[in-house]
């Protein structure tokens, strides 16, 4: 692999940020980051999405929590620490949470009950959860269809996901009840689709 093809810590983090910014400003809008995912080293022990998000958001000023049921989860944790300078911490203390494989319901509950949501005086002291899902779609064709409303959305917007437990949404709305406190979500899949659900987004589940 030549240098030009590997994820560049200046130019590619900026490109990812611009996509993420667009997705955060327009909740549910899917941005395509597949070109950036292809630049992640093959030896990377976490998902390519987690890798590029960690490189873009983390440094020694913030902490992260990494969850994965893969056997090399510890390697991934250390690789993120080593490449970003950020430190791994418990889920209730972390600024950024990377959920790389779908946890059991109990695990989702324990993460969501304790995740930081900031305070009324400092609502920014809240966590951002980056959730690796199997697939995202801008139509209602996947297992978990959502109708989104709120700032950044002109009327309503449809997003659907495979490999995302609806428990995330239930607990999200519980923890985000008292705006401006709450936590923000970033969703991504292995095909390079990325979307965001900031705390202001009201989500209605749509079952057919």
């Amino acid at each position: 692999m030549t240098n030009a093809e590997t994820f560049h810590h200046v130019h590619d983090t900026r490109k990812l940020y611009r996509h993420l910014l667009d997705s955060m400003a327009r909740p549910g809008k899917i941005n395509d980051i597949s070109v950036l995912l292809h630049k992640v080293p093959e030896t990377c022990p976490c998902s390519t999405g987690t890798y590029v998000l960690a490189q873009t958001l983390l440094d020694q000023q913030v902490s992260f929590y990494y969850y994965s049921q893969e056997i090399n989860a510890d390697d991934a944790e250390h690789a993120i620490e080593w490449t970003t300078g950020s430190r791994h911490t418990a889920s209730h203390a972390a600024d950024y949470l990377f959920i790389d494989t779908p946890p059991e319901i109990d695990e989702i509950d324990s993460i969501m009950q304790s995740v930081r949501i900031g305070t009324l005086t400092e609502p920014e002291k809240s966590a951002t959860i980056a959730l690796h899902v199997r697939k995202l779609s801008g139509a209602d064709d996947l297992a978990l269809p959502m109708v989104l409303r709120g700032p950044g959305i002109n009327g309503w917007h449809i997003l659907s996901a495979d490999g995302m437990n609806s428990e995330w949404l239930r607990l999200r709305s519980e923890r985000n009840r008292e705006y401006p406190t709450g936590c923000d979500f970033i969703l991504f899949d292995d095909d390079g689709r990325i979307a965001a659900l900031p705390r202001t987004t009201r989500i209605e589940r749509r079952d057919f």
Binding site: R18, L21, T119, P151, N154
Partner: protein, 285 residues
């Protein structure tokens, strides 16, 4: 060797740690429309009060594919706008333009361009005083608390006193507004004429206050309500019967100017880039 980039500068001037922090802060700001998120503002190679907050936002965003427009009170050619463009060009290969429709990023002081900001554009505001409650409360700790409790009675009382005293709300530029029915924010010293452009817009608006170390944002399609009373509604500046001396426009924001020799009053578009385009259109049949 060709000196296409000055090696003394980082790409886009800021070190990567600074950019990361500004980016994290900006993402938070978008998630809480109108709330001022603190950040560790850096020293910049331009004078304080010349838009260091806006500049840091621009530098955290910009890449070689971008096209940048910088305006100062609508004017692309002011000393401040030119020096910001020079700095950006010394440390990136981004293009610069005066055409707001070609720009991907527009950094502005005191105006919003006449042509609406599109969904693929970002408008970055230079903010001198980000705290709208400062006029009623001097202490930062207290204004933070007032925002937390959504206790806005002080600023409402101030507006009411204005009406009692002057028969109208006397605030011209930097007119306070409520974002997403939650936070009162300062739109920076834009004229009232520009404030409705923030409401339910297609584009993204980012605000940077360098000296006060705050970043805030108004995402697209967000409700922005200027503070007003039912019987004293919000009103924008009017220019009835006036038109631009250069392009003839009567539906743009006009600056009132005086001819130095004759002392005669005349009007000219404040958005010089747009005015130039209108003049060209007028001259091509």
């Amino acid at each position: 060797m060709q000196a296409h980039l000055k090696q003394t500068y980082n790409y886009a001037f800021l070190d990567e740690g600074s950019k990361k922090e500004i980016r994290r802060t900006t993402l938070k700001a978008i998630a809480i429309p109108g709330y001022q998120v603190p950040f560790a503002s850096r020293e910049m190679p331009i004078g304080r009060g010349w838009g260091t907050g806006g500049l840091q936002l621009t530098l955290s965003l910009i890449g070689d594919q971008d096209c940048l427009k910088v305006i100062d009170q609508g004017n692309d050619d002011s000393v401040n706008a030119v020096s910001i463009k020079k700095l950006v060009q010394s440390c990136t290969k981004a293009e610069v333009t005066t055409d707001s429709e070609r720009a991907t990023i527009i950094q502005t002081r005191h105006r919003i361009p006449e042509v609406p900001i599109r969904s693929d554009q970002i408008l970055v505001f230079q903010v001198p005083l980000p705290e709208p409650l400062r006029m009623v409360e001097a202490k930062e700790r207290k204004t933070k608390q007032l925002h937390a409790e959504m206790d806005y009675s002080g600023i409402w009382l101030r507006l009411y006193e204005d009406i009692v005293k002057w028969g109208k709300i006397s605030i011209g530029a930097d007119y306070p507004a409520l974002a997403h029915k939650r936070y009162i924010f300062a739109p920076s010293p834009i004229p009232r004429y520009d404030l409705p452009k923030l409401n339910h817009a297609d584009g993204l608006f980012l605000f940077g206050a360098g000296r006060e170390k705050k970043i805030y944002a108004i995402p697209p399609y967000t409700e922005i309500e200027p503070l007003a009373f039912d019987d004293y509604p919000f009103e924008v500046e009017h220019f009835e019967g006036c038109s631009c001396r250069l392009c003839g426009s009567s539906d743009t924001f006009l600056d009132e100017l005086f001819d130095e020799k004759t002392g005669q009053k005349f009007y000219q578009c404040s958005d010089t880039g747009n005015c130039r385009k209108r003049q060209e259109k007028r001259h091509t049949p």
